[in-house]
Each structure stands twice: as structure tokens, then as C-alpha cells.
């Protein structure tokens, strides 16, 4: 395992024909390198709601400093695993005033270009895979700007999540050739990451994120 703060990540190829990589704490992941990716709070003045801006002024959010990213191609599928410290996990929405932990990865929908800070625009949308604690299926979302996130009804993305020893591990899987962001062997795609802390009531645009795209390269 190697660690370091990088802006580019190359997915490793795993020869196992029947990977158990949706078990994010499984032994197969222990063989895969993990890159530490720095996160920062989203800007408060970019939140598309005067209420949110006012009610969160002076209130910390997005404090998670980094997330561990591992990427694997096994068979015909890409697996992305995020791992981050969560001392007070929120594993479900249990009441009016509780919020679940969550994470997401984001790509330009065309796999090439989009504005990350605005979550895309009309000409260059973004697509994301979004996991929220307590749900078995991830959401696949598309957006053409802040506040425009919409969920894709049918999608090929699956997820596995586990909280253990004070950390969340969440693994996403999508077939390379399946519907959505182009994922091509040997090619690179911009990648963004976001994490929401339920214990801090983080939701919507209140999150820790990568302020700039990383580059994810898939093996040939």
C-alpha cells in the first residue's frame, strides 16, 4: 500500500475473475494501493439558497481533511473505494433532525470536460455516483449546475459499504462499457469526490469535496 496526496490516480488491474470488491473492507482491497486525496469545504457563498448561506454562516462544515481513494479494474468493471474517518457514524436517517453519512464521486458526463465548482452547466453536464448510509442502492445523478441534481432512474452502478474501526469504506462498481460516463481501458477521466458528515447535519451542497478534478487513468 502506498499513500500520498496526488492529483492523479491510476486504477490497478486485478486478475481475479470473481472479485469480492463490493465488500469494501475485504481482503482484496488490502492489496490495492490507496491514495490520500485532500478535501476542502465547499464555498458557503456558492450555496444556491440565501437561507443556507445565512443559517450556516460561521458554522463549520466539510471539515473532513482527506479521503483514501483506491481504484481497481477487475473483469470488465471499475471499482472505486473511498475510505474516511467517521468517529460518529450516522448510518441512517432516524428522525426529523438526523442526517445520514454520504459520499459521491463525480465525472464530466462526457468523460472529458465540465466545470467542477458549478457541478457542470447546460453544455457540459456532470454525472455522479452517490451513496447514502442506510440505502442499499446508490443514486446515479446528473447535474447541469448547482441545485440541478437529478437522479437517473435506471442505472448499472452498485455499491457496498461498511463502517468499521471508526472509518467508512464505500466501494462503487460500474461496468466499463455500461451506460453513463465513458470508462475506457487505457483512457483517463476527470474525477471529483465529496463526503457528507451526517453528525454535522451536512447535506446538499454542505460537504467536503475535492476543489479541483483529479485524473483517474484506467489500465489498458
Amino acid at each position: 500500500m502506498t499513500a500520498g496526496t496526488l492529483t492523479s490516480v491510476t486504477a490497478e488491474r486485478l486478475g481475479d475473475a470473481s472479485p469480492q470488491l463490493l465488500a469494501p473492507g475485504g481482503t482484496q482491497w488490502a492489496k490495492v494501493s490507496e491514495t490520500t486525496v485532500s478535501l476542502a469545504p465547499t464555498p458557503l457563498d456558492a450555496q444556491p439558497s440565501a437561507y443556507v448561506q445565512t443559517s450556516w454562516a460561521g458554522r463549520p462544515y466539510g471539515a473532513l481533511a482527506s479521503v483514501g481513494l483506491s481504484a481497481v479494474v477487475a473483469g470488465d468493471a471499475l471499482y472505486l473505494r473511498l475510505r474516511w474517518a467517521a468517529a460518529e457514524p450516522r448510518q441512517a436517517i432516524s428522525d426529523n433532525d438526523t442526517y445520514a453519512d454520504a459520499c459521491a464521486v463525480l465525472f464530466p458526463l462526457d468523460g472529458k470536460t465540465a466545470e467542477l465548482a458549478t457541478m457542470g452547466d447546460e453544455r457540459s453536464p456532470v454525472q455522479g455516483w452517490h451513496w447514502r448510509a442506510g440505502t442499499a442502492l446508490p443514486f446515479v445523478i446528473t447535474a447541469t449546475g448547482l441545485g440541478t441534481v437529478s437522479r437517473v432512474p435506471d442505472h448499472p452502478v452498485s455499491v457496498g459499504a461498511a463502517w468499521e474501526n471508526g472509518s467508512w469504506s464505500v466501494a462503487f462498481k460500474r461496468g466499463l462499457g455500461e451506460q453513463g460516463v465513458p470508462l475506457t481501458a487505457g483512457a483517463s477521466v476527470p474525477l471529483g469526490i465529496a463526503v457528507w458528515s451526517g453528525a454535522n447535519s451536512e447535506r446538499a451542497g454542505l460537504k467536503a469535496h475535492t476543489p479541483a478534478w483529479l485524473t483517474l487513468t484506467l489500465p489498458k
Partner: protein, 349 residues
């Protein structure tokens, strides 16, 4: 940014006469059976009647922030379910096993005893005997003209209908963030934890579209509720709010310009120590009524008093005629269709 810059073409408005409400909760039950009987909605009371002065629903209903001050949003909170009141179970087995001697007790989901619920402090009221007092306060979504809920949502999960100003939650767009519930100063937005969406009173819009009055209006045996478009100059809301100025917004200091108005409670004067009416002392403190209904409340009460006395003398009073509503249909504005007589009646009666 989600903002509301223009008013709808028409605005539906309602007036609730606090002097006529019996606290029977027929409105609450009509709404409950019609709209909130699905899983995840057990604890929802889109319409609720609470004794005032009192804690309300949720507990300390007007102290959770939200709304606007000097035009700026006020941060709010969304109280937990227990503060609204869960859908209790009852300890039937304990009562049965005791041969009926053990009290039939309500239980929260975790088995504990409830500490709050809808109209929890029923009929407690305020004041000291013999000058005690209370009134019932009915609350639904007020479809505010400056809706803090709609403006708070970062993803336009709520919208206002151009044809009647009704504010609805688009459950396809709602992601359950609950900023709307925090921002509503009247705490009239609920959360469905199973579907992870916010839900609230919809003003019975499917009934309105069929010409039928909202269920809470139609089912009220006290003829408390008046409904019409505010631009109908002959309609009760317009006459009561703008002509007679006896119907007032609830907590106008919240700054959201609600479209539900209240005829404030007119109580007898206070008793003095000799047990006689003291005409100089109100039973319900003026400052409390001003806090609830704004600075127009004293004038409104004077007007009602004057018109009542006219009516008692046998003189005609348009105001008293409106408030009495001898013809039930007069309450309903243009929504007088009988759901039982429609070809395809909407749900409910």
C-alpha cells in the same frame, strides 16, 4: 438562487374564525384520513388544532426560528419527531393482564411514555381563575406570499402554482434535505423518513380543481373556515381581511405573509376582585394578542364588538352575517361542488 420575485396570478386565501372553533378536530381527522394515512405519514397532521396559549405542535411551535427579519432569512430548526408527537401505540397487554386495573397508557416507539403530542396541553390555556381563558388555533400550510420554505430549498424542490398560489413539494425533486422545514416559522412541514421527502398540506388542490372545498373547510361543523380567491372582491376572505379588517395573519412578525387569516378571539372582560366585569381590563392580555396577530388586533376586536352589538339590537351587519354563515355554501367561495355528486369524486367526502 431560488427566489420568488413575482406574485401568482391568483391567490387562494382562507379565514379561520377563532370565535367559533369547538376544538373538535373534525378538520384534523378529515385531512388525516384523506391525505396522511400512508406508511411514513403516521405522525403527520397537516391540519392541527391546538389550545392557545399553549405549546402547540410541535412543542413551543413558534420558537424554532425560520421566516424573515428585515427581509433576511432567519435560521431555524426542525424539531425531532417526539416534539411533534409520534403515532403512539397503547399498552393493551398490560391493561388486559391487570383485569383492566392498569391504566391504558400511550407508548412511544421505544416503549417510553410520551412527553408531547398534538394539542398536548388541551384546554390548559392561560390566566388565573376566574380570569382564565383559552382559544383553539387551527393551523395548516398558509401558502405564504413570501414562502420561506420555497426560498430555502437549494434545489427548487418546492414550487408555487400560478393559478392559485398554492405551494407544493415536488416529491420527485425533493431529496429530503429539510431546509424547508427549518425555514417554515409555523413548522407546518413534515418529513417522511421512509421516502426521505418533505410533505405538507396541499390545500386539497385536487378537490379545488374539481370545484370542491378543502376537506378541512367542508368538514368543519362549526362553520369556522372561509375560502375563496383573494381577488374576488365579494369573497369572504377579501371582505374580512381588506374591507372589515377583522381577519389577521398569524405571527406577522415572521415576515412570510401567510394567506391564512384569523378572526381573533373576542373574550369577555376580566372579573375584578368583587367578581364583576371590569370593562377596562381584557380577559386575554392585549400584548399576547398583539404578538399572535399583530398590531391590528385591537381594532379588529373593536369592530367585531361594535358589529355584534348592532346585530344584537336587530340592526343589519354584513360582518356578522358573513361570520355566522347561515348558508353553509357561503363559506366555500367557488368551491361548492358536492364530492358525492361528481362523476368521479376525489378521495374523501
Amino acid at each position: 438562487m431560488a427566489t420568488v420575485s413575482s406574485r401568482p396570478a391568483r391567490q387562494l386565501a382562507m379565514v379561520f374564525d377563532l370565535n367559533k372553533c369547538l376544538g373538535c378536530q373534525s378538520c384534523s381527522i378529515a385531512c388525516k384520513t384523506l391525505w396522511t394515512d400512508a406508511p411514513g405519514m403516521e405522525s403527520m397532521w397537516w391540519n392541527i388544532v391546538n389550545t392557545m396559549p399553549g405549546g402547540g405542535t410541535p412543542r413551543d411551535v413558534f420558537s424554532h426560528g425560520g421566516g424573515y427579519k428585515n427581509g433576511e432569512p432567519v435560521p431555524g430548526t426542525f424539531p425531532p419527531l417526539r416534539e411533534f408527537g409520534e403515532a403512539w401505540g397503547f399498552d393493551q397487554e398490560a391493561t388486559f393482564a391487570s383485569g383492566g386495573k392498569a391504566a391504558f397508557r400511550p407508548l412511544e416507539r421505544d416503549g417510553s411514555s410520551p412527553e408531547w403530542g398534538p394539542n398536548w396541553d388541551e384546554d390548559m390555556g392561560g390566566g388565573q381563575y376566574p380570569n382564565s381563558y383559552f382559544f383553539y388555533l387551527q393551523q395548516i400550510c398558509a401558502n405564504c406570499s413570501k414562502p420561506a420554505c420555497l426560498e430555502a430549498c437549494p434545489r427548487t424542490g418546492l414550487y408555487r402554482r400560478e393559478e392559485d398560489g398554492i405551494i407544493l413539494i415536488d416529491e420527485e425533486r425533493c431529496h429530503g434535505y429539510r431546509f424547508c422545514a427549518e425555514a417554515c416559522p409555523y413548522k407546518r412541514i413534515y418529513f417522511n423518513p421512509g421516502r426521505v421527502v418533505a410533505q405538507k398540506c396541499i390545500a386539497c388542490y385536487p378537490r379545488l380543481e374539481a370545484g370542491v372545498a378543502p376537506a378541512c373547510v367542508r368538514q368543519c361543523p362549526g362553520r369556522v373556515r372561509h375560502v375563496d380567491y383573494m381577488d374576488n372582491l365579494e369573497g369572504h376572505p377579501y371582505k374580512l381581511v381588506h374591507e372589515w379588517k377583522v381577519a389577521l395573519p398569524l405571527r406577522p412578525d415572521f415576515g412570510t405573509e401567510p394567506n391564512v387569516f384569523y378572526v381573533p378571539p373576542l373574550a369577555p372582560p376580566a372579573f375584578n376582585e368583587a367578581g364583576e366585569f371590569d370593562e377596562t381590563k381584557p380577559r386575554i392580555p392585549d400584548e399576547y394578542l398583539r404578538e399572535m396577530f399583530g398590531p391590528g388586533v385591537e381594532r379588529a376586536l373593536e369592530t367585531i364588538q361594535v358589529e355584534r352589538e348592532k346585530s344584537a339590537r336587530g340592526e343589519p351587519s354584513e360582518l356578522i352575517d358573513i361570520l355566522i354563515a347561515r348558508d353553509w355554501n357561503d363559506l366555500l367561495g367557488p368551491f361548492t361542488a358536492n364530492p358525492a355528486e361528481l362523476d368521479r369524486p376525489p378521495r374523501g367526502g
